[in-house]
């Protein structure tokens, strides 16, 4: 039946070092996320629209207001406002390095694809490691960077920051977490 649990190779409920219970902090009532969402939406609208007469800009203001009212608290949580501009600048500085790494990764996978004895070169394996990043956004950037770079795919990130990664060969899995974690940690200032 469908109820039978499949034998997973990953332990999904790994809550090993159990954190002491902290009551959830109520979200601060701050208008900043809404203002931020409105501004981003307005800029995006101007790029999309390409018409700068009064009528279309008024439509853009109405549309941005609708989006802000329905999903204004999605882009940013109120707690994470502190240190925001610096984080953005550091993220922009991180992107070129990431692009270079992606290019190298693609060359690596490309060599595997066109290699005639490909089956001997690859050696797929699962790797587990614990990250020291504490910020959710940083973990997200780290996970997606892992997926985009040499021969590795993020399979699962547990709540406590335990990463499960599928690596295509031995060499590509060894570098983790390594330099990338330091660079991602530098974005959020850890």
């Amino acid at each position: 039946m469908a109820n039978t649990k499949p034998d997973n190779t990953v332990d999904y409920q790994a809550f090993s070092p159990f954190k002491p219970f902290e009551p959830p902090t109520p979200p601060e009532k701050s208008p900043l996320p809404y203002v931020f969402t409105f501004c981003v939406c307005m800029i995006t609208w101007l790029v999309l629209s390409g018409k700068f007469d009064f009528f279309h800009i008024a439509l853009g203001i109405v549309s941005s207001a609708i989006v802000t009212a329905t999903s204004g608290d999605m882009l940013l949580k109120a707690r994470r406002i502190a240190g925001l501009p610096g984080a953005w600048l550091r993220f922009i500085a991180y992107v070129p390095w990431l692009l270079f790494e992606i290019f190298r990764a693609n060359m690596h996978v490309m060599r595997l694809v066109f290699h005639p004895r490909m089956m001997d070169l690859i050696d797929p394996r699962m790797i587990r490691f614990q990250t020291r990043l504490d910020n959710e956004m940083a973990r997200f950037i780290f996970a997606n960077s892992i997926t985009l770079t040499p021969g590795t795919i993020t399979v699962y990130v547990s709540i406590l920051g335990k990463y499960t990664v599928h690596a295509i060969d031995r060499a590509s899995g060894q570098g983790l977490p390594g330099e990338m974690e330091d660079r991602v940690g530098a974005i959020v200032g850890e």
């Binding site: 499949p6 790029v47 992606i102 694809v113 066109f114 797929p124 997606n144 795919i153 699962y156 599928h166």
Partner: protein, 112 residues
């Protein structure tokens, strides 16, 4: 042909090369997990290169409309860079949860 045309052609050719690698990789690799590597990385890179090439080609005539269209293409690129790793992650997570056994070197040598 201007310089921008040559750069755009080179970028599009690179993108097509990556796309070709991705398609062949999806065919050649032995199991589901390793097939995701070319599908997740090479396709993203191919899309990135080809779209940047086309955006560069659009900058040949510097009018407001063409610049905005190039910006829209850049918006697609940003979108792809956020969504493509997530789609790859969703597929591989589904595979693990469904209980698909990964192909390893030991399993192949054990079969010999």
């Amino acid at each position: 042909m201007s310089v921008l045309d040559i750069v755009a052609t080179a970028m599009i050719a690179m993108g097509l090369f990556f796309f070709l690698g991705g398609a062949i990789g999806i065919l050649r690799f032995p199991d589901f997990y390793s097939r995701l590597h070319p599908a997740g990385k090479l396709d993203t890179m191919g899309q990135f290169a080809a779209m940047i090439g086309m955006a560069i080609y659009l900058l040949n005539d510097l009018s407001l409309g063409s610049v905005l269209t190039a910006l829209k293409i850049l918006l697609i690129v940003v979108f792809v860079f956020i969504t493509s790793p997530t789609a790859t992650h969703a597929i591989v997570d589904a595979g693990v949860r469904a209980g698909l056994a990964p192909w390893t070197k030991e399993s192949r040598e054990g079969r010999r």
